[in-house]
Amino acid sequence: MNDTAMSALATEATNPQTVRTPDEHPTNFKIGANDVSVFYGNKQALFDVSIDIPERAVTAFIGPSGCGKSTFLRCFNRMNDTIDIARVTGRIEIDGREINESDIDVVELRARVGMVFQKPNPFPKSIFENVAYGPRIHGIASSKSELDDIVISSLERAGLASEVKDRLAEPGTGLSGGQQQRLCIARAIAVNPEVILMDEPCSALDPIATARIEELIDELRQNYTIVIVTHSMQQAARVSQRTAMFHLGYLVEEGPTDQMFTNPREKRTQDYITGRFG
């Protein structure tokens, strides 16, 4: 990542954010969203969502299908830009810096805000090349050995090193589904992002692979701010510290995960959690 850009952003990150839920005392908020709406053509998919995402913690977005949680997640690294008809309004700040402004370089933003997708999508290249791709295009490694170090340490942090270190030249697409997803996580953390967005990372995986990814998320939260979209309320309960519940494009409720699951304020949250709809 570009160091000068990072420090420039860091100096601006001074405004203390308002704490929306009185019973939670996070020290820092990484991302602040204010009145974010997303339109696909004439259809509005997200309505005036405001939320703060705490730093070095896992925030889970839950809600029934089509509730806008993935759409909202994709606002944080401006992946909605890739959809022609999508239009985003409102303010999203990362470290106090508005990311939708024209002077923000989306290439740098996406290096700082990594993403893991629903379906494992390794490049049809070798395992090594998959992880080395980010450092290469952003010019992070200054030498071949440094690149090797980045690849190995990323694979280690993604818990994949022991399984693949002898076959780095083999295609990444030849791994099992769970391994592919961990490869995608390794690929995302190879550029040392600050935020990792995960869009239903386990929905295509079996329970054992899911458990491994969840362990990994738990370890990663020491160093990264993680936002995860999930269909599974159990998963949200297991991995997240904060949970936000979406329904029909509206943010219904957000708060500490244990409070959300034991004592939700909104009836709709309770109905969803207890399985009455969704």
Partner: protein, 427 residues
């Protein structure tokens, strides 16, 4: 779901049910039979075409040759100026030596056994090896078309003399040469290494093959980069609006425009407006490129579309720029499809005749083109020229030309299949 739907009794063993299932199976079998019938029909017609071509064309792949001993006397050919030598006399002397009894007007009939250009063949052989001056040189020269046909049984000896192009005396001489073992029918390399000629026994495809190669080279160099650039822009960058839709519709329409129209366009623009040379492979290639462009754009767009969006998202999500996403990931994955489509487009261009006729690539040209700007023919136009020629020998050569053209098409399609299997990657 209501209770009433649950209570409908289904009797799977009823006669009507069994009859319905039989009808469904029969429909399956009919559909299968239609498919097999259609494929058999297509293969049958293709087989008839190839067999017909091969039956008439195979005789052009061998050529009747006559072995003659030429005495290169120093009186007729001067070592210091070989091209000015009297090779006409050399040939006449050689034939007289073989048939000393033939005299007077009949010597002309005798000389007709050999191809008209024998003296040039001898001249070129002497230039290649001047040491034969003063000695003798044995050469195998092509027999002229009537005797080639006679030897290949295309001219029947049973016809009355006034109905065939060789008279009884000539047949006697030819048979005598045959008895002496001077007649042979080796593989006709001239078909591939000679350029066009008025005389069928000398006419070959070299000029057409070189011309087609140059034209296809120009066509590829123009249409491949332009086509890919256009397709990448339309698929990856262009905003979805009326203008883009209009361009897309027009490209699809261009692919369906008859090729003769592209020939007219080439005639009007490249020849008349820009003043480029007539009959040149450069212009032929440019016209073929216009014709191939829509095909390449359409297949490239289809190939780009078939790259899964997840790969694009993965690259963009890593912070790759659009350019990096396309060149690092999308294009390499689309390449097998693009190459296959391009080669098939080029194969189509190779067989295209009409536009080349309009820009004059059907001229009679007796040497292969030395460059892109020199007048030339192409394979399909050469076939067209030969098909129009009255000499008996061109009938077989027309079929042979078509077979050679088909051979090139098969090779190109094989390359396309090979590349697709070789480069295709899974994800």
């Amino acid at each position: 779901m209501t209770d009433s739907t649950m209570t409908v009794a289904v009797d799977w063993t009823s006669e009507q049910g069994a009859a319905r299932r039989r009808r469904r199976h029969a429909a399956d079998r009919r559909l299968r039979a239609y498919g097999i019938g259609a494929i058999s029909l297509a293969i049958g017609l293709l087989a008839i075409l190839i067999i017909t071509l091969a039956a008439t064309g195979y005789k052009a792949f061998v050529q009747t040759m006559v072995e003659v001993d030429f005495t290169i006397s120093a009186d007729l050919v001067k070592a210091d100026d070989i091209p000015a030598g009297n090779f006409r006399a050399v040939v006449a002397n050689a034939m007289s030596k073989l048939f000393p009894e033939v005299e007077g007007r009949e010597t002309r009939e005798l000389k007709q056994i050999l191809t008209n250009n024998t003296r040039f063949i001898v001249r070129d052989a002497v230039i290649a090896d001047p040491s034969v001056i003063g000695g003798t040189m044995t050469l195998r020269v092509p027999a002229s078309d009537p005797f080639d046909q006679l030897n290949k049984r295309e001219i029947s000896r049973d016809l009355p003399e006034d109905q065939r192009r060789v008279n009884d005396r000539q047949i006697t001489w030819f048979d005598k040469l045959d008895a002496e073992g001077r007649i042979s029918t080796p593989f006709n390399w001239g078909l591939f290494f000679n350029a066009d000629s008025r005389f069928p026994e000398l006419a070959g495809l070299a000029g057409a093959i070189v011309g087609s190669f140059y034209a296809l080279l120009v066509c590829f160099l123009i249409s491949f980069p332009v086509g890919i650039a256009a397709a990448v822009y339309l698929e990856e960058f262009a905003p979805k609006n009326r203008l883009t839709d209009l361009i897309e519709v027009n490209i699809n329409n261009l692919a369906a425009v008859p090729s003769v129209v592209f020939g007219l366009l080439g005639l009007a623009v490249f020849l008349n407006f820009f003043g480029l040379p007539r009959s040149a492979p450069l212009v032929g290639g440019m016209v073929l490129a216009l014709m191939t462009l829509p095909t390449i754009i359409i297949v490239t767009r289809a190939a780009l579309k078939s790259v899964p969006p997840s790969i694009r998202e993965a690259a963009l999500g890593m912070g790759a720029s659009k350019h990096q996403t396309i060149t690092h990931h999308v294009l390499p994955l689309a390449l097998p499809g693009i190459l296959t489509g391009t080669i098939i487009g080029l194969a189509q261009a190779l067989g295209e005749t009409a536009p080349l006729l309009l820009i004059g690539m059907n001229a009679f040209i007796t040497s292969p083109p030395g460059g892109l700007m020199e007048a030339s023919t192409a394979l399909p136009t050469q076939v067209f020229i030969w098909a129009d020629s009255p000499e008996r020998g061109f009938v077989a050569r027309t079929s042979a030309g078509i077979l050679v053209l088909l051979g090139f098409l098969i090779v190109m399609n094989a390359i396309a299949i090979f590349l697709r299997q070789r480069l295709e990657r899974t994800w």
